[in-house]
């Protein structure tokens, strides 16, 4: 009894002591800030501005989606190496996603098969059929968003077909095909959320993005530029955009920023969330390959030309099967413009 009373009284004194310490600290800060403050803030601001400028300079590269080689069906070293794989290994190794609803995923209700399916997967089968003569001659590797470029550079995959945006930063590391899909970054939030789009309503909101995604880098740059409020809280990036839907549903995030095509896939899995506002960027998906695999890039570009022309079993059919339910019947806003091949070397 006495011990408890003693402890209680100690606690009381502890509170008083804590208050005193806090007051003292506040006083010390108040005294120090005018001296250290301006220097610190200015220095940081300068660095950030410089960073923003470099990011912007890279963004300003000429239309990255047109920096690709002209189509050709000729076999080169890369294609020959793939064709020379023996026996069971004679397969195209492709990095894909298995978590993007209707792009690359496994339908748990498709029976006992573990086949991946979706819009990206259709394209992979088409490429395999063209190069190896067998649509099924594919070895799928599931690649997290931020592992797409390392996987290509290390030669773990021949190509990545995984809702991958063509941008200036990435064309330094890998070669892209011509674009096969058009989309843009969009905001996803619960229907009841006050967030209305990519604007000031994001103030103080926790925003989820995938690691290594264009959404993450765009958000960072836009927050520096003041395009979105400075107190928008960009959460630690998750491995996959779908993990953002999990965080959203668990209340660990308030909004998701990702490609409109993928955001629509997320909304399709949860009727209580919706896309907020219009797409605030224009982006194109391309097939990524090794920087020096010129013959493969030309070949894939040729395949894309044929794929888009093929109305019965090509791009249009795949869109209708997988994406019309989430992105609307009209495929024109998702169709990329006629490709241009500006890269020569």
């Amino acid at each position: 009894m006495r011990a408890r009373r003693l402890r209680a009284s100690l606690k009381g004194w502890g509170g008083v002591a804590a208050m005193a310490v806090v007051c003292a600290l506040a006083a010390v800060f108040a005294l120090c800030l005018p001296v250290a403050g301006p220097d610190l803030v200015d220095g940081a601001a300068v660095t950030r501005a410089a960073q923003t400028r470099t990011v912007r300079a890279e963004e300003d590269c000429e239309a990255p989606e047109q920096q690709t080689l002209s189509p050709s069906s000729a076999d080169g070293d890369t294609i020959r190496a793939i064709k020379n794989r023996e026996g069971e290994k004679r397969k195209l190794i492709v990095g894909v996603d298995q978590n993007s609803y209707r792009w690359g995923y496994r339908d748990p209700n498709s029976g006992q098969s573990a086949e991946l399916e979706g819009f990206d997967i259709d394209l992979v089968h088409r490429i395999a059929e063209d190069i190896l003569g067998d649509a099924e001659a594919v070895q799928f590797k599931a690649i997290p968003t931020d592992q797409r470029i390392p996987a290509i550079k290390d030669g773990r995959v021949d190509m990545v077909v995984r809702t991958m945006t063509i941008n200036c930063e990435r064309i330094k590391d890998v070669a892209f095909s011509a674009p096969y899909f058009k989309t843009g970054q969009q905001v996803l939030a619960p229907k009841s959320s006050p967030v209305t789009g990519y604007d000031d309503t994001l103030a103080g909101r926790r925003i989820c993005t995938a690691a290594g995604s264009t959404a993450y880098s765009t958000l960072k740059a836009d927050r520096e530029d003041g395009r979105i409020p400075a107190d928008a809280d960009i959460l630690k990036a998750v491995p996959n955009q779908l993990d953002c839907l999990v965080r959203l549903q668990l209340g660990e995030a308030d909004a998701v920023v990702t490609d409109g095509a993928l955001a629509a896939s997320q909304a399709a899995q949860d009727p209580t969330v919706q896309l907020k506002g219009d797409a605030f960027t224009a982006e194109y998906y391309g097939v990524a390959m090794k920087k020096d695999a010129d013959d493969l890039v030309r070949r894939v570009n040729q395949i894309l030309v044929d794929y888009r022309k093929d109305t019965a079993n090509g791009w249009q059919a795949s869109y209708e099967q997988w994406l019309s339910a989430t992105l609307g019947k009209d495929a024109r806003k998702s169709e990329p413009p006629a490709p241009r091949y500006l890269r020569t070397t």
Partner: protein, 483 residues
């Protein structure tokens, strides 16, 4: 009075020569006038402390035979009682520690291992269920539910047996908080999976992350803490009670000296009281040494043949579970995670799988060496056989996966026939059998050890009181001769 003088020495008979004690009265035939000590003071000195006064009185008393006898009696009684008390105290501690080993710390250490195992197994069952591509099977669901139930039950038991404010209690509270969170994530994953949405898989990944990064490390921590407690209980139960033994020997020596002195003074061979005291002290000392040696042997046996085997087998079971979990994740992740080791890029989960299988092999070899009879060795040998087959099938499955035959690889890992899952189940079953066997051995040996201490402390206390009474009476009998 039971005092009977066996050899009556008449007062007129010549006393035995006493060269060393010539200044003292040879035979206390009649109450002699108290001789003064050579330097004894007769007049009281001013400003003397009570202690000094008492000391002087004692010194004065020590110069007379009845005074000496009183002191001897008191010292003997004190020694015997102290021996009894220290014996009772030390043996109560040891008996309590031995009882804790058997009924509390070992079961808790086993429970902690079970908590870890159930959690890891539940997680593996959940991921296998989804891995199948379709909906989870009744078998995998049952396995998951059973494991969650076991973990929850054992957590309640562990919570009841841990001291509040101890680090174990904090870990248990953490696990109790995380378990429903984990279960909630898996339930959401199931619901979405039923609707055919890949976000179910994302929930499962999140649940797996929670399990791997927070729950399993906490469970492992708990297991280590409970093992430490078990070792501490062993350390409390097995050391020799040196203080009690030393006091016992001292009491016996004092009794022997007193009797010898008695004989030299009176020529009487036996003083019944002192003999009774000697007998009880001897009995207690023998009981103490023999009982404790038996207990110690039993407990050491239970540690060497029980606890060490159990620990190795638990470790083996955990390694096999981790290996299985990693094997499944290799197929779930499909090459998403890689690790660079030795200049080569490996699939992170397959790399971990191989590490765990290697650990499993080591643990099984150790368990085989520790097993001391054929019924303990048999399941371990069988498990080693299962493990070899598992490795073989795993290599074949990996080859299929490397060749892009994902479905075939999947069938070889979680399929209904000839899959690695069968091997894992056999390993697990054999390890379970071996654990049950070692558990019985442990209970047997530790139970024997604990039972060897039964009644020792209370017996020692009662006998010591009797012994002290005997000593006092024995001395009293001699003392009465002066009145």
């Amino acid at each position: 009075m039971g005092e009977v003088t066996v050899t009556h020495v008449p007062t007129s008979s010549a006393p035995p020569p006493r060269p060393g004690l010539s200044t003292l009265p040879a035979v206390p035939a009649q109450p002699a006038p108290t001789p003064r000590a050579p330097h004894g003071r007769t007049e009281p000195q001013p400003r003397r402390t009570a202690l000094a006064e008492g000391f002087d009185q004692l010194r004065a008393a020590a110069t007379t035979e009845p005074g000496r006898l009183r002191i001897i009696g008191a010292v003997l009684a004190l020694l015997v009682v102290a021996f009894g008390a220290v014996t009772a105290w030390q043996m109560t501690d040891r008996a309590a520690a031995a009882d804790d080993v058997l009924t509390s710390s070992q079961p808790l250490s086993s429970d902690a291992a079970d908590i870890y195992r159930s959690l890891a197994d539940a997680n593996t069952a959940a991921s296998s269920g989804f891995l199948a591509g379709g909906q989870e099977t009744a078998t995998s669901r049952d396995r998951y539910e059973r494991n969650i139930r076991t973990a929850a039950e054992k957590l309640v038991g562990a919570a009841a047996n841990s001291d509040p404010d101890s680090p174990s209690a904090a870990t248990i509270a953490k696990l109790n908080r995380l378990l429903p969170e984990y279960k909630g994530l898996v339930e959401r994953a199931r619901t979405y999976n039923r609707q055919g949405f890949p976000v179910g898989g994302a929930y499962l990944r999140y649940a797996n992350e929670k399990m791997q990064q927070r729950m399993l490390p906490a469970a492992e921590d708990l297991y280590k803490k409970e093992n430490q407690r078990l070792r501490a209980d062993y350390a409390d139960a097995t050391p020799y009670p040196w203080a009690a033994i030393a006091l016992g020997v001292a009491a016996l020596a004092a009794l022997a000296w007193a009797q010898h002195r008695n004989y030299r003074r009176t020529n009487r061979v036996l003083n019944h009281g002192l003999v009774a005291a000697t007998a009880t002290v001897t009995v207690v000392l023998l009981w103490l040494v023999v009982g404790h040696s038996f207990a110690r042997a039993g407990l050491n046996d239970s540690y060497d043949h029980g606890v060490r085997s159990l620990n190795v087998l638990h470790d083996a079971r955990i390694a096999s579970l981790k290996a299985r979990g990693n094997e499944n994740l290799t197929l779930v992740a499909r090459g998403a995670e890689t690790r660079k080791a030795g200049g080569e890029t490996h699939d992170a989960y397959d790399y971990d799988f191989r590490a765990e299988m290697k650990a499993l092999g080591t643990y099984l070899a150790d368990a085989g060496k520790l097993a001391d009879d054929s019924s303990g060795e048999r399941p371990v040998t069988a498990a080693a056989g299962n493990m070899a087959e598992w490795n073989k099938r795993h290599t074949a499955a990996r080859e299929q996966d490397e060749n892009g035959n994902y479905q075939r690889a999947l069938d070889m890992v979680i399929g209904p026939k000839d899959a690695t899952g069968e091997c894992f189940d056999s390993v697990d079953e054999n390890l379970r059998t071996a654990l049950a066997h070692e558990e019985t051995e442990f209970r047997h040996a530790a139970g024997d050890g604990r039972d060897a201490l039964t009644g020792l402390s209370s017996g020692a206390a009662v006998l010591a009181v009797l012994g002290a009474a005997g000593a006092v009476l024995g001395i009293g009998r001699r003392l009465s001769e002066y009145r």
